[in-house]
């Protein structure tokens, strides 16, 4: 009973602010939709010969074919219908696109994490590599990914890589950076006394890395992975834009904007936000599992 009560209290405490924010956001959204769509509605939907009431205007702005800003319920309906009205292998089903984008995101995430780890180990291992690599790594992130993406696609395409690989590479390009930066800090986090202790045990470099530096860096790694997977999702979607890809959330955004189908753009956006949320939640779940296994308070 008490557990249930406290759970209810917690729901009230944690849930209420979220609910208030959600309602506020929806109200603002509707207000924005009315404001932005009014001109189009007057021009195209409402009768020109007879006078119309403001109720008619309000209804018209919320139910346009190609609104400037679709209303939440329009987006919701489109979103829902894409999920239930079409089979999973149809390009009209958003989950089909989610699968395509998630695949390149996850490949890019795995590759980016490995690359980030490798770079961090190299940087921590040698001062020369630290000086040689770090400027390039930082510079790589100042180049807009939108500019890099077509280049990567062309080069990889000429080498015979198509489909997932180029998209995964671009996702990796955004993923590795937070992992590198966090891991350099994490691998350097052991105190002098701890490294000296390993020294007195005559531990070799690998042992010091595996038994001290890597475990000590885990609390640094996971926040970077959460950032990294979200960045990887952006990379994967951006990579879908210049390829004229027919599948993926990025492609869905692109076709939506080709045809001025704003509702489709918005439901793809909502879906990509949900995918990003799901991916970071999954990483956070793994983090909790790992850190609990280490018995940390």
């Amino acid at each position: 009973m008490t557990a249930k009560a406290s759970q209810w209290q917690r729901l009230q405490r944690d849930g209420l602010p979220v609910l208030v924010m959600l309602v506020a956001a929806l109200l603002l959204w509707y207000a924005g939709a009315v404001w932005l769509n009014a001109a189009g509605a007057i021009e195209r939907v409402l009768p020109t010969d007879v006078p119309w009431t403001w109720q008619q205007l309000l209804a018209a702005t919320m139910d346009m074919q190609r609104p400037v800003l679709p209303t939440p319920h329009q987006v919701g309906l489109d979103f829902w219908s894409s999920l239930v009205d079409w089979p999973l292998d149809s390009p009209r089903n958003l989950l089909f696109h989610v699968a395509v984008t998630a695949e390149s995101t996850l490949w890019g995430f795995v590759m980016g994490t490995l690359l980030g780890l490798l770079l961090a180990v190299l940087i921590v291992h040698s001062r020369t590599l630290d000086r040689a690599l770090l400027p390039w790594i930082v510079a790589s992130q100042t180049v807009p990914v939108l500019a890099i993406a077509p280049i990567v696609l062309v080069i990889l395409g000429s080498l015979g890589f198509a489909g997932v690989a180029p998209k995964a590479v671009i996702a990796m390009y955004l993923c590795f950076f937070p992992v590198t930066v966090a891991m350099v800090q994490g691998l350097r986090s052991p105190q002098r006394i701890e490294t000296e202790m390993m020294h007195t045990y005559a531990a070799n470099w690998w042992q010091a890395l595996w038994l001290l530096r890597l475990p000590a860096s885990l609390p640094f790694l996971f926040p970077a992975l959460r950032v990294g997977i979200a960045a990887g999702l952006v990379g994967a979607m951006v990579a879908e834009l210049p390829t004229g890809a027919v599948a993926g959330l990025g492609a869905r955004l692109l076709t939506g904007s080709y045809y001025g189908n704003t509702v489709q753009i918005w439901s793809a956006l909502v879906m990509s936000a949900l995918l990003g949320l799901a991916l970071t939640t999954a990483v956070a779940g793994i983090e909790r599992l790992v850190l609990r296994r280490r018995g940390q308070p």
Binding site: M197, A216, G295
Partner: protein
Amino acid sequence: MNHPEDSPIISRLNPPAGGRLAVEIRQTSVVYQTADSPVHALENIDLNIHEGEFVSLIGPSGCGKTTLVRVIADLEQISAGLVLVNGVSPHEARLARAYGYVFQSPALFPWRTVLANVTLPLQIQGRTKADAKAIALEHLERVGLVGFDGKYPWQLSGGMQQRVSIARALSFEPRILMMDEPFGALDEITRDRLNEQLQQLWQRERRTVVFVTHSIAEAVYLSTKIVVMSPRPGRIVKVIESPLPDDRHLAMRDTSTFIQVAHEVREALADGHHD
């Protein structure tokens, strides 16, 4: 009596019970180059530590006692002189796992259980998991921590943590144990108890112990030999062979012999300051 002025030949001719030299230090200096002037952390140190001795290095801060033990442990490089540990250089001795080192703080890995912390050196030496576990459990028992093997370091008190770190240092049975103010951060009651346990441990196993402290009572209670040091430059002022019997208990601190040795140490410390 084993004064620093003793020549190596004489001390070799008259080895105290225990025999072989565990640590031999000849005319050793450590100089740090700083921006303005070189700092003489240690100057012309001569010291013999025989196997089975419990040697305390005592002195005010800056006297080089920690530097000296770090030199023996190959954590610090000497500028001049000769240091031999078990007849070889500190570097070779370290690679041969000749010593265990207990730091000022326990330095336990928070992600490892107590047991896994103690097995760490064994794991590095490539012992099998089952072997390492059996050895570690035995060493935890020796420091009085039966039943704590599954706990994490943060679940233990400071004194218990330091006992885990002693078990870890001893897990691979090094012949020499070096301790750098291991109980400095603990309260006096815990410290007394740990001193008693350490003394009993030494009596049972007769390992060579090099112990850094700034507590006179601790040094006199534990040591068979007390090395009094003084700062600027770091040097040895006096080496006192303890007349106390090996079998000791805390109540001994009220005996006249104990008080006399403590007095002698205090005098030597004062002398070092007046030079």
